[in-house]
Structures are given as C-alpha cells and as structure tokens.
C-alpha cells in the first residue's frame, strides 16, 4: 500500500493531523534522520506529515531578552543568519559543524532535538544555553527545557499528538563556547562535545556524545560561583566532570579514552570562555 503524504500549510492543520493519525503519522522535517531509518528498514511510515510548508515554522525572531527559532529553521540558516551571529554566535558555531553542507541545507533545529541522537551537536549546546522548546497539540501548548525534553537515546517527552513548534533561547549569556572533538573525519559526529555558557544565572557546562543524553551537573558548575574563571578553576571543573561521567564506548572512542578527553575539553572550553 502506498504511503499517505500530507503537506499541511497551517499550524492548526498539522495539529489536527497529528491528533487524528497518532503514532501512524510520522512528522517529516528535513528528512535527514528519517531517511536513514527508512533506507535501513527500521521505519516504514503509514503516513507522513511534511512540515515543509507550514506557515510560520521558519521564523527567527527576537522577543525581548529571548530568541525564538521556528522548528523548521535549517542548520544552514542558523550557520549564516546575521541576527543569530550577532545575538548568540555560539548557535551559529554549533550548527556550522554538523555533518556536511548537503545535510545542513535541510536538517532542522526541530528535527535534531526531536530525534535526540546521543551523538548530535545541537542538544548539548541548547542545554548549556538553557533553551526550551514549545510543544503544541490540538489540546494545548507547553514549554519544556531541552534538558528535560531529552530522556535518553532517541527518547524525548514529545507525545504522539504533539509537535515541537519553536525553540526559545534566552539571550543573557556574557560568554559562550562550543567545542567539538572529532576522532574520525571532519564532517563526522563528535566523540566528545562541550558547550560552556556564562549566563546571568551562573555557569552552565553540558557535555555531549558521551552518554544517552548530554550531561550537565549543576553542583559542579556551582564551583564557579563568586570566582573568576582561570586555568586552575577550569581544570578543577574539567576533572570533576570526567570523574562524574561514566562514558559510553563506540566507534569514536572507548569509555576510558572519552574520560580523559572530557577532562581536557571541558578545561579548554572554560579557558576559551575566560579568554
């Protein structure tokens, strides 16, 4: 049987389709993650709901002290958008190092957060920035921090009638750095990634690609409270993160290797922050 293809143009229509089709309706954003699943026979959707033509989903807007990024904004746009570069350059720096230009042309911020791959770059960055997502359904709307959105590898709190419509990033950071440590080719996913953000609420450090979800430890970040960042403090926090994390082993590095890289990369990210 042929797959049903829906191409809604309004938010109301998407939410209605989502409510009607439930788990039989697969949302398609850039398709770069879905395509891999479909080609490998892991997924054969009964119905596909394309988000490509929904009005308003590609908007980038400043809203007071926050940045609102529509779910369908592509990696490529985030890499080059002048407002993003001016307001929060770490977002551009992070999306610029994902995959290759062909993938970045289509992959979206909503797609990468909804697929919740452990080895993606943007989740750690968004968590360090204390970003939240808007989840909408026909029956309501809620906001969830990216920290709470991602539960584990490929697992989020998004319900089967919900759509991630927007990402909201506070703009209160005084410094922010994203570091991607690769062990294979330039366009590969990270072995270890570190996002470090100094914001009004304090320091936030998230380490990606080392566990089922990005790792952030608020008690360790609190060591920076009232202290100026210097190489001693950077080393202390790096060591504490490495001790706390029990890293996975995959083709990009063993657990023991990752532990050493975490200590070094967290230290470097914090030294970059201070520089």
């Amino acid at each position: 049987m042929s797959t049903a293809w829906h191409s809604p143009t309004t938010r109301e229509e998407v939410l209605r389709l989502r409510a009607e089709l439930g788990e039989d309706g697969t949302l398609v954003a850039g398709g770069t993650f879905l395509g891999v699943l479909m080609n490998n026979g892991i997924l054969a959707p009964e119905a596909m709901i394309s988000l490509a033509h929904v009005e308003g989903f590609e908007r980038i807007a400043r809203d007071g002290a926050e940045l609102r990024i529509g779910a369908m904004v592509t990696h490529r746009r985030l890499e080059f958008d002048a407002d993003i570069r001016a307001l929060c350059p770490m977002i551009a720096d992070t999306f610029a190092v994902v995959a290759n230009p062909r993938v970045r042309n289509w992959a979206t911020i909503g797609g990468v957060l909804a697929d919740a791959d452990y080895a993606s770059d943007p989740p750690a960055a968004m968590i360090a920035l204390d970003a939240r997502v808007v989840l909408e359904s026909a029956s309501g709307r809620r906001e969830v921090s990216v920290e709470d959105l991602i539960e584990d590898v490929y697992q989020t709190v998004i319900e089967e009638d919900e759509v991630l419509t927007e990402v909201i990033v506070p703009l209160d950071q005084s410094a922010a750095r994203y570091r991607k440590f690769r062990t294979r080719s330039h366009e590969d996913r990270p072995c270890v990634s570190v996002a470090a953000v100094q914001a009004s609420g304090g320091l936030r450090v998230a380490v990606g690609a080392v566990a089922g979800k990005p790792q952030i430890f608020h008690d360790i970040c609190a060591l920076a409270k009232g202290r100026a960042m210097d190489s001693g403090l950077a080393r202390e926090i790096g060591t504490a993160y490495a001790e706390r994390i029990d890293p996975i082993t995959d083709a990009r590095g063993s657990s023991a290797y990752r532990k050493r890289v975490i200590a070094v990369e967290v230290r470097r990210a914090l030294e970059d922050l201070a520089a």
Binding site: S2, W5, V36, S50, A52, N100, R102, W106
Partner: protein, 152 residues
C-alpha cells in the same frame, strides 16, 4: 500518488509511493543515472541533486517532498560548462563514479562564491567522497574553473 516537480527545467509528473527516496525515482522513473547511490545515509555525496538551489542528498529525501520544487542534476549543465572543462583539464577524474556530484557541487559553490579559497573548497566538498582519492586534483579543477568564470 502523483508527484509533479520541475526536473532540469522540464515539468515532470511521476506516479509513485511518496515515501520512495528521490534517488530511486530519479534513476528509475526519470532515467537520470548521474545520481548514484552508495551509502544511503547522507555520507558519501554521490547522490547529490540540487533542490530549489540547495545541494541535497537524494538518498534521504522522500520524493513526496519534491512536489512543486525545482530539481537539478548535473545533466542540466551545458557540455562546455567551465567546471566540466576544468575537471578534464586538471585530470581530476579516475573512475568517475563521484564526479557528477562533484561537478554539480562545484558549480553551485562557484555560483555562491566565484573565487573560493582552498579552505572554502574543502568545506563545500566535505561529504563528497572520492574513493579514487582525486581530492588534490579536484581542488586544482575548482581553482581552474574559478579562473574561467561562471557561464553567463
């Protein structure tokens, strides 16, 4: 389902399952064999097509997503396109498997950036893999094509 789009300047309509990947429909129903499937996971670049002006992995895009869009493959270029000439002059080809996608990606690069640096070339072609390892000569070909200029 019937899916209508523009292919290399001509309107086409295909009758197929919208979940089929563009790669298989281009090669099958549309007879365009310059797009080539290898990895099927967006890594190698041999399946590159241009959709609404953007390089795209045809192995990852369900053909349903092409409805109403403008699709281009290397076949859209004139045979005397400076990029094609430059690849031949620079001897940037061995088996040729990766070359249609390389030429298409380079054509697009030069339209956006007529005089790219080595770094910019490497960035634009990151993800276009050449198993024969012609990378250095491909980079020479890009500089050569840049010197020839874009077609009017």
């Amino acid at each position: 389902m019937k899916i209508a789009f523009e292919l290399n300047g001509t309107p086409v309509e295909v009758e197929t399952d919208p979940a089929n990947m563009a790669l298989s429909v281009l090669r099958g129903e549309c007879g365009i064999t310059s797009v080539r499937g290898t990895c099927g996971i967006g890594l190698c670049g041999t399946c590159t097509m241009i959709v609404d002006g953007k390089t795209t992995a045809s192995c990852l895009m369900p053909v349903g997503a092409l409805a109403g869009r403008r699709v281009e493959t290397v076949d859209v270029l004139n045979e005397d396109d400076p990029v094609i000439d430059a690849f031949i002059e620079a001897n940037a080809v061995q088996c040729g498997f990766c070359i249609p996608a390389m030429v298409l990606t380079v054509r697009k690069l030069l339209e956006d950036n007529p005089k790219p640096t080595d770094d910019e070339i490497d960035m634009a072609l990151a993800g276009n893999i050449c198993r024969c390892g012609c990378y250095a000569k491909i980079r020479d070909a890009v500089h050569l094509a840049a010197a020839k200029g874009n077609p009017a």
